[in-house]
């Protein structure tokens, strides 16, 4: 008698299927490479190579580097020009106030780039003095004498900075954008006020009687009077203000006030620069997304703005670090600095973690048309002047 095959019990089959599924799932979880330590597994043809986008035609450089001013900060983040072309740099829970560059500094083509901390006319912050000031428990260790470095201590990390110009209601007043609020200081460094909390503040600019604060969280530009009283918003559709909504994917949402009375606002997700009147109406917009030099590339650029005395706009980009100059109407004019003249690390595409993220360069322009580029990796201010035509 032939032996009959024993039928597979349904329960055994189900248990087997479940166990196999659990095993496969466990292996799949085990193989997940969250940190990319095993690489992508793709061939070189899939390599994400930005090298060719970093090359800039030398003929497009309209500026050249003339000097470098070392900044004794671990994490410098913002730069601004004060009254009389004082240079203010914010970072490391402090603001360093530097004397103006000598009138001749950087105005001639004969001045060549120098090693850090050397050369006439560039007054570097004394490391010991600055370091002591930052660590000092005293709120305002000021002043230390005319022409020398001043330090304003802050309670937390600053992210943006502006100074009221001569036409401002309070010339020389310092407005510091912290993470979520604004602090104001008198020209002598004494603390004036702490404004109410907002969202994520990325940039501050001031006109005659208005202070603008860019909020990357609310995606609007707030308008305040110099005492911190809210006056309105730009970027939120309401009533007669049919302004565009800003696309702000990352905490880089710069603004700058121009001599023509228009507020320039970067719309970084749209790769545009937009100009608004003081009452919030859009006047003009320019800029397009492109890897080409005249456009803005990456997820969100430009990351910083400055305005030259003649009304031209200086833009600074992150990702592929580029500083460029456009006319007030947005016509591309030339390049100030590219990856070659900035820290090579700034061009690194490997930003794996927030605490290792490199902040992009910050820009400012003084009354002589010199462009000051804060290089956060090299921890210095690079001074560029326009080529003589």
């Amino acid at each position: 008698m032939a032996a009959q095959a024993k039928p597979v019990h349904l329960g055994v089959l189900i248990v087997a299927v479940v166990l196999v599924a659990i095993g496969v799932g466990a292996v799949a979880v085990w193989r997940i490479d969250w940190l990319g330590e095993h690489g992508s597994g793709l061939s070189d043809s899939f390599k994400y190579d930005l090298q060719k986008y970093q090359k800039i035609d030398p003929a497009l450089f309209h500026y050249h580097l003339v000097a470098e001013m070392p900044i004794d900060m671990r994490d410098p983040r913002a730069i601004a020009i004060g009254l009389g072309d004082q240079i203010l740099v914010a970072g490391d829970k402090a603001i360093y106030v530097y004397s103006p560059l000598l009138p001749g500094e950087g105005t001639g083509t004969s001045v060549s780039p120098r090693p850090l901390g050397e050369g006439p006319g560039v007054r570097a912050a004394g490391p010991t003095k600055a370091g002591r000031a930052v660590d000092s428990p005293h709120p305002n260790p000021l002043p230390e004498g005319e022409g020398t470095t001043k330090t304003i201590s802050l309670d937390s990390e600053p992210y943006s900075l502006t100074v009221g110009n001569a036409d401002h209601a309070f010339p020389g007043r310092i407005y510091v954008g912290m993470w979520d609020h604004v602090e104001t200081f008198a020209p002598d460094g004494s603390h004036l006020a702490t404004w109410s909390k907002l969202g994520i503040l990325t940039s501050v600019a001031c006109a005659d009687k208005v202070v603008f604060v860019a909020d990357a969280h609310a995606k609007v530009v707030w308008e305040f009077n110099p005492d911190g009283k809210p006056l309105g918003q730009i970027g939120r559709r309401s009533g007669s203000r049919q302004g565009p909504m800003f696309v702000v994917p990352s905490p880089y949402f710069p603004i700058a006030m121009g001599p023509d009375g228009l507020l320039r606002v970067s719309n970084p997700g749209a790769h545009r620069v937009e100009a608004f009147t003081l009452d919030g109406h859009l006047e003009l917009a320019w800029g397009k997304p492109s890897e080409r030099i005249e456009g803005f590339c990456g997820c969100c650029n430009p990351a910083h703005l400055a305005v030259l005395p003649d009304g031209r706009i200086v833009t600074a980009e992150k990702g592929i670090p580029r500083v460029k100059v456009y006319s007030a109407e947005g016509t591309f004019e030339g390049v100030v600095a590219g990856p070659e003249s900035l820290s090579p690390n700034l061009a690194a595409a490997t930003e794996t973690r927030e605490d290792l993220r490199l902040h992009p360069v910050s820009v400012a322009a003084d009354s002589r048309g010199r462009i000051l580029v804060l290089d956060p990796v090299a921890r210095c201010v690079k001074i560029f002047v326009e080529n003589q035509k």
């Binding site: 599924a21 496969v24 799932g25 799949a28 330590e37 890897e291």
Partner: protein
């Protein structure tokens, strides 16, 4: 041997037949020994019809889901890689995010919770709950991409507690609090048909089998352990572990690594046989709701009136959440139980202390997940030549210009923090184990089949199968001469619990 239905010829399953036999034969006023299958025939039709409907909808959704998931392997880059024949697409500017999204999400969540509670408690509508399940899956899952969700919000709330610099968005806080609030009043109606993770598992639970009680209780502890890990890693700023290993969010977003998609698919395969495996054995938010649901003011009831102890609910519940009536025990047994309970309560502090001690031993494996400690270890290995080459993280670190010594100091400080955090995690696990043992040792008095308040997800499957419910809805009628179907318990509690009934016709 089951008898075919005289109306349709359908021969019900033996298990169901057993249940019906008990309904009629076990009653105290039984007048006939004939099983009243005739009276149950319409409900069999209902069940078959609804079962087929369920199956069709589930298969259709599964097919649609699979098709939609195919593009998930694509990777978006900008600027795009330079392929030889690749035409660069025109760059589009993303539209701004709809500013009212958080308000809409919270309003819809509150509405869905209210509707689920109404359907489960008041209307007792399995069909309504099922439709709401699909709607929630579509909106909270595929349209809102599984984010924001209450499951992950545990981590946001934890991080906000431990990190003063982190502000939890109000909508996330609302997503965390609203389901807990509703559970406090109505039981786990969030799990019933609002949670997209539960919804997808509800749809694939096609051939559920009973999980042995000891396995169910043991695996159920995992969700509390996972909750502890999720809190630990979010409190230390290590990672949002719960979101990272969410098995279904990759399907919702149509984007995930192949391994995560395989992981999710495996859960669905398991879910076809074991009802809601993620909800029951892993979901940390489910663990919270289980605790809260024990104290809920109202909870779904299986029969709308008096239970007739037919055991159908116990048979059909795919989640093993029906508790049978208890039987009277002898005085000596009760005394022994009290002694056991006292010992377990006395041992609880020891469990917690042991857990704390063991948790501190977990300092190294736990801290290895922290990105700073991983990075410090990697830099050390690269410096000492133990590994060749660099990785993105080590490149990024060197780009910052920081000294490795700074990183090592930071890693050591974090490691010490993990020793303490691991201790608290171990204490939590010890507390969970002790509480489970105590919970199992507490004797409860139940006269009817009742849903386990903590385990029941209020899915309403048992409504359809309850003869009392069917009679109330007019789906079945009493057969004259078989005695009342309900009004009095038809099966003695001892027999129902002990399952010693004579099943022969």
């Amino acid at each position: 041997m089951s008898r075919p239905c005289p109306l349709s010829g359908h021969r019900p399953k033996v298990g169901r037949e057993k249940a019906r036999v008990r309904v009629c034969r076990g009653g105290p006023r039984r007048r006939s020994g004939t099983p009243c299958l005739t009276s149950a025939a319409p409900s069999v039709h209902n069940r078959v019809r609804h079962g087929v409907l369920d199956l069709r909808i589930a298969i259709a959704l599964l097919a649609l889901w699979t098709l939609l998931s195919l593009p998930a392997l694509a990777v978006e880059r900008f600027p795009p890689p330079d392929f030889s024949n690749h035409q660069l697409p025109v760059t589009t500017v993303p539209p701004p995010q709809f500013a009212a999204n958080p308000y809409v999400d919270v309003a819809l969540l509150a509405l869905a919770l209210a509707l689920a509670s109404y359907l489960a408690i008041r209307r007792r509508s399995r069909r309504g709950l099922f439709l709401l399940t699909i709607a929630s899956l579509v909106w909270f899952g595929f349209i809102r991409h599984g984010c924001i969700c209450p499951v992950g919000s545990i981590q946001n709330v934890t991080l906000a507690i431990f990190d003063r610099a982190y502000a939890v968005p109000w909508a996330v806080a609302a997503f965390f609090a609203l389901p807990i609030l509703f559970t406090l009043f109505f039981g786990r109606t969030f799990c019933a048909s609002v949670c997209p993770l539960g919804a997808v598992q509800e749809l694939v639970a096609l051939w559920p089998v009973k999980v042995p009680a000891w396995v169910d209780h043991s695996l159920g502890l995992l969700s509390y352990v996972y909750l502890g890990l999720g809190v630990l890693f979010s409190a230390t700023g290590t990672a949002f572990l719960i979101c990272r290993y969410d098995p279904f969010v990759g399907f919702f977003r149509l984007a995930a690594s192949a391994n995560m998609l395989i992981f999710g698919a495996c859960f669905l395969v398991v879910g076809a046989f074991i009802g809601r495996p993620y909800c029951r054995y892993l979901c940390p938010y489910g663990a919270l709701l289980r605790l809260v649901s024990r104290f809920s003011k109202w909870h779904v009831k299986i029969p709308p009136d008096e239970c007739i102890r037919c055991r159908l609910c116990e048979d059909v519940c795919p989640y093993g959440a029906i508790r049978e009536p208890t039987v009277a025990t002898a005085v000596t047994e009760r005394r022994r139980g009290r002694r056991r309970l006292a010992v377990l309560i006395g041992l609880a502090p020891l469990w917690i202390a042991l857990g704390f001690w063991l948790g501190t031993r977990l300092e190294v494996p736990l801290s290895e997940l922290h990105p700073t400690i991983r990075l410090a270890d990697r830099i050390r290995q690269e410096q000492t030549g133990r590994v060749q080459g660099t990785i993105d993280a080590s490149d990024a670190f060197r780009n910052t210009g920081r000294a490795p010594a700074d990183l090592y100091r930071q890693a050591l400080a974090l490691s010490a923090m993990f020793r303490t955090a691991g201790g608290w995690f171990g204490a939590w696990v010890g507390l969970v184990v002790a509480a489970k043992l105590i919970h199992l040792s507490i004797r409860r008095q139940r006269n009817d089949y009742q849903p386990d308040r903590s385990g029941c997800v209020s899915c309403g499957r048992c409504f359809w199968y309850c003869p009392v419910e069917q009679a109330k809805q007019g789906w079945i009628q009493e057969v004259p001469g078989t005695g009342p179907l309900f009004g009095e318990n038809s099966l003695p509690a001892e027999q129902a619990a002990g399952r010693k009934m004579d099943l022969s016709p």
